[in-house]
Amino acid sequence: MIQLFAAATGEAPGISEAVLWAIILCPLVAFAAITLYVRHLPKIAGYLSILAIGVSFVLSLIALIDVLGASGGIAIYSHDWFQAGPLELALGVRIDGLTAVMLVVVSSVSLLVQVYSQGYMEGDPGYGRYYAYMSLFITAMLGLVLADNLFMLFIFWELVGLSSYLLIGFWFHKPSAASAAKKAFIVTRIGDLGLLAAILLIWTRHETLAIDEIHELALAGVLGGTTLTLFGLGLFAGAVGKSAQFPLHVWLPDAMEGPTPVSALIHAATMVAAGVYLMARFFPVIEASPDALTVVGWIGAATVAVGASLALVQTDLKRVLAYSTISQLGYMMLALGVFGYAVAVFHLFTHAFFKALLFLGSGSVNHATNTFDMRLMGGLRTVMPITFWTFLIGTLSLSGIFPLAGFWSKDEILLEAWVNNKGLYAVAAIASFVTALYMFRAVFMTFFGTYKGGEPVDHEDEDSHFHGDPAHPHESSWVMTVPLLILTAGAIAAGWWALGKEFHHFVEAAIPAEALHKAPDFSYWIAITSSLIAVAGIGTAWAIYHRGLVSSTEIRKVVLPIAVLLENKFFLDDLYERAFAVQVFQRGWNRLVELFDTTAVDGAVNGVGWVGTQSSRVLRHAQTGQVQLYGAGIAAGVFIVAIIVFIANPL
């Protein structure tokens, strides 16, 4: 089945279906080939993977250009997959503005990360495996954005979860890594329940899973009321898990246990983007349900606040970035909550570049110092100039400094929030101050001041593959710095696409026009305010962490309860893992059920046998060997049987 929808301003995309499938299949082929054949040939595995993703990237670009040429129309190619009774499921691809943008973001960031990994992962015994997993990861993400129906989307959604599990737990011999991988998978899966429920709901009520049909149902009002709200919330639950929204954000910081390029990929282009993509994809549905929309907005806001505040107290560079990601994802959800569909996607787009840049930069730093602990760094500005400057630009972009990419997208979010919901605006604005504060705290601690020596290499650890000398840090090799530079370009310039609302028009063509709200016009007032807030944040950071005008320990003493709360991540991990998972669930409930199983259920079974043998043991004493007892038995039998008959059947 092929469906084409022309955009308001152009023709439908005419791109061949084969190209779209090829985008998914290239990395998949690489995965299969590496797994089956070249596991043990690391270099070839790396090249194969890069080649595959490179092809995907090129094809994605072609697709983007094609869709651009059609000003963002929609093309859907769908095929029957299997059928069971009335259930008919399809496999299909859908290309439109949103998909095209996502494709390019995913494939480009992935390509750069892959290239970078060649340096970062050099010498790791699992090098081949690493590239196999990465290929699978990218396949899953590309498939997710190309899927034309909810079911297929769910499949790739789950595959994203799988690959993230494999990659986060890549260094599986580290208990923390294995644990983090498990945590990521399970926590996101809790969210996936919502998505699954949404699928069940929509199929049961309306017998369709095709995205465009669901859009139509929502717009036509057929899909409405409780079903609509539940469906929207179900989808959102999935997104909460995958996009690390409060309260399921806990897995993301732990996901740092994976290799840094993996973190870059997860935080920038894949995994967490999936949730935002899902919400954007189904924006017409969310938007049709005010309740769902409100929930999305406020959960986003809560996530913004939680992420930003926790980022303030981290000492681990990657964890700062991780919480920053949470916070930024919150921004995207918040944007969706204030009707900012295009804005959210736009922020996703720009965020991909600068966040990937920051992560890769942190990886570069790690390569020099053998640590992510900022307290062991300092003064790297001079020894690692490329890393420093690219990291700084990324930080500025994240903080929303004009005219970097982050400025444009964040500004628009604040604008939408201001127009539609002042409360959300307040949260977003305060958080943008905190954002600048914690990012520059990281920059100052890492690159300024004096070098504190990094982490000494532990030669006993056979799994360590650190090659340099932490005492004498140096700049990373070109395979690592070139991707940094390329991403820097993106972090600087990606925002300019939004000038003149071009990006918006393009992306908005992906959903039915009826679903759109008119975006507010650019407001200088908002732009200036947000810039000032960001600058204030930077200034504060400078004052505290560079100049030491105010001691951070002093501040900590003043706001001790808050600091304790933050340092313990609002006790959420403790609540989930120790209190709930371990105490309530495993030691409490499960133990109870198990106890019931062994005593009541199995006990009853064994009890029946026991009663049988026991009664047999007791009764056999009746068989005394006394012949007259037996004779009495016979006589008594006559009497009893006769009496029974007369009682049962009276004369």
Binding site: G609, G612, T613, S615, S616, R617, L619, R620, Q623, G625, V627, L629, Y630, G631, G633, I634, A635, A636, G637, V638, I640, V641, A642, I644, V645, F646, A648, N649, L651
Partner: protein, 486 residues
């Protein structure tokens, strides 16, 4: 047809018995031939029976006190088979235990003739005499070992048997007094004429009859002698008791109750009695069997439970017509299948116990390695007793349960199948002991060829009828059909 022809099979067997005694008196050194003389008599009986089947000339004789019909023929074959197998299996045993061989075989043959008379008896006097002809030799045989246990078993069996006989006789006397005749057909006529007014008498008489035959069938509450006698009696005798007198009791009860007391108002009562006794027998027999450590006692209790199973069929015959045939043929099928199976089990026990000198189940450990064929055959027989396919016992149980279902005795069938589960536990426990237990010594056991032959016949019967039950079922149905027609 001359009257000698009518009792030809029994006569052949009794002649053989006499011949055995005479042979022993005349040629004491040629004792080895005694069992073969006995077998010749049994063979003669079987052949004679076959000639009736070929002639198809079924009739009643002796003024209606005795009948030759398919029913009697069926049982005559069964008893001939039982006796033959018992005789073969005894050869080795008797030879070792003592020198009272001629008496042994003569008494077995006499008892067997008594059983055969029972199958055809249609008159209270004939039934009683035939019953005693089978019983008294069995009392003697139980005490044949003359050691402490054997004579104790004989004594117990006799005293209790006599008490049961007295009860039976009292019941018969009441029936006779009511009907003025000892012929079953007359009794039936009298009951249909004015029986309904005198139900209390008929019920009490029925109960007394059930007590008398229940003793032979070994059903609760008339069963308590069973384990003691089985344990104490010589094993081949126990085997004979466990199948012979039980089968005969069922044979006669079915004829007596259906031909004589088949009137609907009465059959409701005795069907209920049978159903209750069946349920209690199965349950108690099994529950007792679980903890037994002596395999003969275990088989004794199991035979009580099995009698309960037979009784489901009896309970089902109270309804005339097609259901009747189901129930009655179910009992017949069960009798035949059980005869082969239980004999097989006992013979295997003979073969094993004789060599290891113990009846303890624990001593059967590892028998699979010491006597693989014996162990395999015993396993098959036990599986058949448990009613697990592909054995004759399965079909018998299935058929009886089917009859029960058709007679609306679902509750009883459920109790029956649940009891099968319990029985599977202790039967399989023996199998487990033999196949999985660790033997204390690994020495192979020598099996006497005669035991092997007897066991082989029984086990092959169990398996063949397990796979192709149709001939047996057909025969049972044909035999049972004579009542439906009447």
């Amino acid at each position: 047809m001359s009257e000698l022809d009518i009792v030809g099979p029994q006569l052949a067997i009794l002649l053989a018995a006499g011949a055995v005694l005479v042979w022993d008196a005349l040629l004491p050194r040629r004792r080895a031939a005694l069992p073969y003389l006995a077998l010749a008599g049994i063979l003669g009986a079987a052949i004679w029976t076959t000639t009736w089947v070929i002639r198809g000339d079924f009739q009643t004789a002796f003024d209606g006190t005795f009948a030759i019909d398919q029913y009697a023929v069926f049982f005559q074959y069964v008893f001939a088979g039982i006796t033959a197998i018992v005789v073969i299996a005894s050869i080795d045993w008797v030879d070792r235990v003592g020198r009272r061989q001629s008496e042994y075989f003569a008494l077995v043959l006499t008892a067997s003739a008594g059983l055969m008379f029972l199958a055809g008896a249609r008159d209270l006097i004939t039934i009683f005499l035939a019953l005693e002809l089978s019983s008294i030799p069995q009392y003697i045989l139980a005490g044949w070992g003359k050691d402490q246990r054997s004579s104790e078993a004989g004594m117990k069996y006799l005293l209790l048997g006599a008490i049961a006989s007295a009860l039976l006789l009292y019941g018969m006397a009441l029936l006779y007094g009511f009907a003025g005749s000892t012929l079953l057909t007359d009794i039936s006529a009298a009951i249909s004429e004015h029986g309904a007014d005198n139900r209390s008498l008929l019920v009490v008489a029925s109960v007394l009859l059930i007590a008398g035959f229940g003793f032979k069938m070994a059903v609760v509450p008339f069963q308590m002698w069973v384990p003691d006698v089985y344990q104490g009696a010589p094993t081949p005798v126990a085997a004979f008791l466990s199948v012979g007198s039980k089968a005969a009791a069922f044979a006669v009860v079915m004829r007596l109750f259906f031909e004589g007391l088949g009137e609907q108002f009465l059959s409701n009562d005795w069907a209920m009695i049978f159903a209750v006794i069946a349920a209690v027998s199965m349950t108690l027999g099994n529950v007792f069997a679980i903890v037994q450590r002596d395999i003969k006692r275990m088989l004794g209790y199991s035979s009580i439970a099995q009698a309960g199973n037979f009784m489901i069929g009896l309970a089902a015959i109270s309804i005339a017509g097609e259901h009747f045939v189901q129930g009655a043929s179910g009992v017949l099928l069960f009798v035949a299948a059980y005869a082969f199976t239980n004999l097989g089990a006992f013979i295997a026990v003979i073969g094993i116990s004789q060599r290891i000198g113990s009846d303890n189940i624990a001593d059967y450990a590892g028998m699979w390695r010491r006597a693989p064929l014996l162990a395999l055959a015993l396993a098959f027989c036990l599986i058949s007793l448990a009613g697990i396919p592909p054995t004759a016992g399965f079909w018998a149980k299935l058929y009886v349960f089917n009859a029960g279902i058709q007679a609306d005795l679902v509750w009883l069938v459920i109790i029956g199948v649940l009891n099968s589960v319990v029985s599977a536990y202790y039967y399989l426990a023996v199998v487990r002991q033999m196949f999985l237990g660790e033997a204390e010594e690994e020495k192979r056991l020598a099996i006497s060829p005669t035991v092997g032959v007897a066991l082989g016949v029984a086990t092959v019967g169990v398996i063949v009828f397990g796979i192709i039950p149709t001939p047996l079922v057909d025969a049972a149905r044909e035999a049972a059909a004579i009542f439906a027609a009447s």
